[in-house]
């Protein structure tokens, strides 16, 4: 599979800090995959996300997008930002327009897209996030989930290869969370857009193609969810929790009910227990 982003031995230090926030992190993001990045508060996962589209630049190492665009290059940075869009945590901090269509147009204006093309792209992208009925609405008339979908539409209008979600659902209520995740999942599955999701939501990470665990500024592990989420000590030491099904398996073992292996989903586990009966 092709690499869409390559992080090469990156070290990053915030000005004025003594310790590096990221230490020698290397990571390849595959084209079309859903990659979840998990870790404790302060593990460096959001910093890593900001390095991926050049919002922050590495002190050492390099970040390369699409095999040739470096975030360090003044010439490449616009192409990097166009290809790698980012949705932030707080829906209220990223709405700049006075209406939905103005908000999406803002990004396109920055890229010098001609008006006719702009109108076409706005209509197309609101449709893809299911917000076509809201084109002229003002931000205060929208829910948090709807604002995040507008942010995603703004990114889509720039024809990106990658969408980064930086805890983009953590301030939303359960309904908003489902809305946004469904939208992104469709873009990933139907259109092949690569998704990198920085998250504390373990159930979400469980359904990713791959998971990266960050710990104290370093990459502590990387792999398929079914391998990563079996590693009890790793998860707990990285400030995470075990998925529900594994916690229940442990509690069952305490009660003398032994299972042949770790099951990650409720369905698998309930069926496995039923077989014991």
């Amino acid at each position: 599979m092709e690499n869409i982003i390559s992080v090469k031995d990156v070290t990053f230090l915030y000005p004025g800090e003594e310790n590096s926030t990221l230490k020698n992190v290397s990571l390849d993001v595959n084209q079309g995959e859903w990659l979840s990045i998990v870790g404790h508060n302060g593990s460096g996962k959001s910093t890593l996300a900001k390095l991926l589209n050049g919002l922050l630049l590495p002190n050492e190492g390099a970040v390369i997008v699409s095999g040739k665009y470096s975030t360090m290059s003044q010439e490449d940075i616009w192409e990097v930002r166009r290809q790698v869009g980012m949705v932030f945590q707080n829906p209220d901090n990223q709405f700049v327009g006075t209406s939905v269509q103005d908000d999406i147009a803002f990004g396109l204006e920055n890229f010098g897209v001609p008006r006719e093309e702009m109108v076409k792209r706005i209509n197309e992208s609101v449709h893809r996030v299911g917000m076509e009925a809201f084109l002229n609405q003002e931000p205060h008339q929208l829910s948090g989930g709807q604002k995040q979908r507008v942010a995603i539409a703004g990114i889509l209008a720039q024809k990106p290869s990658v969408i980064i979600l930086d805890e983009a659902t953590s301030m939303l209520d359960p309904i908003g969370r489902i809305e946004v995740m469904q939208t992104v999942r469709e873009l990933n599955e139907k259109e092949g857009i690569t998704v990198i999701s920085i998250t504390h939501d373990l159930e979400e990470a469980l359904s990713a193609d791959r998971v990266v665990v960050m710990k104290m500024g370093e990459k502590a592990a990387e792999g398929k969810p079914e391998d990563i989420f079996q590693q009890r000590e790793l998860l707990l030491s990285a400030g995470l929790d075990l998925p529900f099904s594994l916690k229940l398996s442990e509690a069952l073992l305490q009660e003398g009910v032994e299972l042949d292996k770790g099951y990650l989903t409720q369905e698998e586990l309930v069926n496995a227990i039923w077989k014991l009966a």
């Binding site: 829910s143 359960p174 009660e255």
Partner: protein, 288 residues
């Protein structure tokens, strides 16, 4: 402290073309010492309701009583300072409200505002910083040099410094990692018990509501939609799903198990340990 809400209605921008009804006919009694969870999605009226509990908002009609203090619609302007001291609110992302040069000064600000002497306020700061599980050395640091989790604890310490009898928590774990979430919720639960507090927790987490709450109220469109103990609330899955909420994972799993096994097991504590016990018991019975 006992909380009594009677036929509470709140209208935003009353008397203007933008008038909007945020709360309608809410009647709720919270007994002294209850751990009370308030759930419902955005716009359901939860935040409006809790802002009435320390007088940040006044009823458009109806009344709110906390202990001796009665706040009612059209009532005389009264001094709410004593109430605000007794009912402490931990807002969402409370660390955004830190502002002083040092952690110690930030915590001392509240008590001194209420007339506590400087030396006494210093003592209080030193006590509450331990309550939230931070070392004394943090007191001399700038709050802005701390990690997100530490800043949250400092902000919580600032509320505890007022020695409240009612603690109102508006999604206090939002944005924290899973380990931090458990730590903060356990901290509140410990404080609730040792300081004999009445706690009102606003949350989206059914797990937290089931784990800590004695009573749960579900808000929907400004009205009280469901009210009861966790067993009563979580036996109404359809009613919850209708308003975009769901039951805790333990109950979800048990329903799957009941469906497969044809049994009718139920939970009372909603913990994973209890769930494991119920299931292992039935397996053992079958084994015999």
């Amino acid at each position: 402290m006992e909380i009594s809400i009677k036929q509470l209605q709140h209208l935003y921008m009353q008397g203007t073309p933008f008038e909007r009804r945020a709360l309608h006919n809410v009647t709720l009694h919270i007994a002294d010492g209850t751990f009370f969870a308030l759930i419902g999605h955005t716009g359901s009226g939860k935040s409006t309701l809790i802002q009435h509990l320390n007088g940040l908002l006044k009823p458009s009609s109806g009344s709110v009583q906390l202990g001796e203090t009665l706040i009612k619609a059209g009532g005389k302007k009264q001094n709410l300072k004593p109430l605000r001291r007794k009912a402490g609110i931990v807002f969402q992302y409370p660390e955004h409200q830190l502002f002083e040069e040092t952690v110690e000064k930030d915590i001392m600000f509240g008590p001194m505002n209420f007339g506590v002497s400087e030396s006494e306020a210093k003592n209080i700061a030193s006590n509450v910083i331990e309550m939230v599980g931070l070392p004394q050395t943090v007191l001399s640091k700038s709050p802005f040099d701390l990690s997100g989790g530490q800043m949250r604890r400092v902000a919580i310490a600032g509320v505890l410094a007022m020695n409240p009898e009612v603690l109102i928590l508006d999604e206090p774990t939002a944005g924290l990692d899973p380990a931090g979430r458990v730590e903060i919720m356990d901290l509140f639960y410990r404080l609730h018990q040792t300081n004999h507090l009445t706690t009102v927790l606003v949350t989206h987490s059914m797990e937290d509501a089931s784990k800590y709450a004695d009573e749960i109220a579900v808000m929907h469109k400004g009205e009280l939609y469901l009210h009861g103990n966790p067993s009563q609330i979580f036996s109404q899955r359809e009613a919850l799903q209708k308003v975009g909420l769901d039951i805790p994972e333990t109950v979800q799993f048990l329903l799957k198990w009941n469906e497969l096994s044809g049994q009718n097991l139920s939970l009372h504590e909603f913990t994973i340990e209890e769930l494991a016990k119920r299931i292992s018991e039935t397996l053992k019975k079958r084994g015999n």
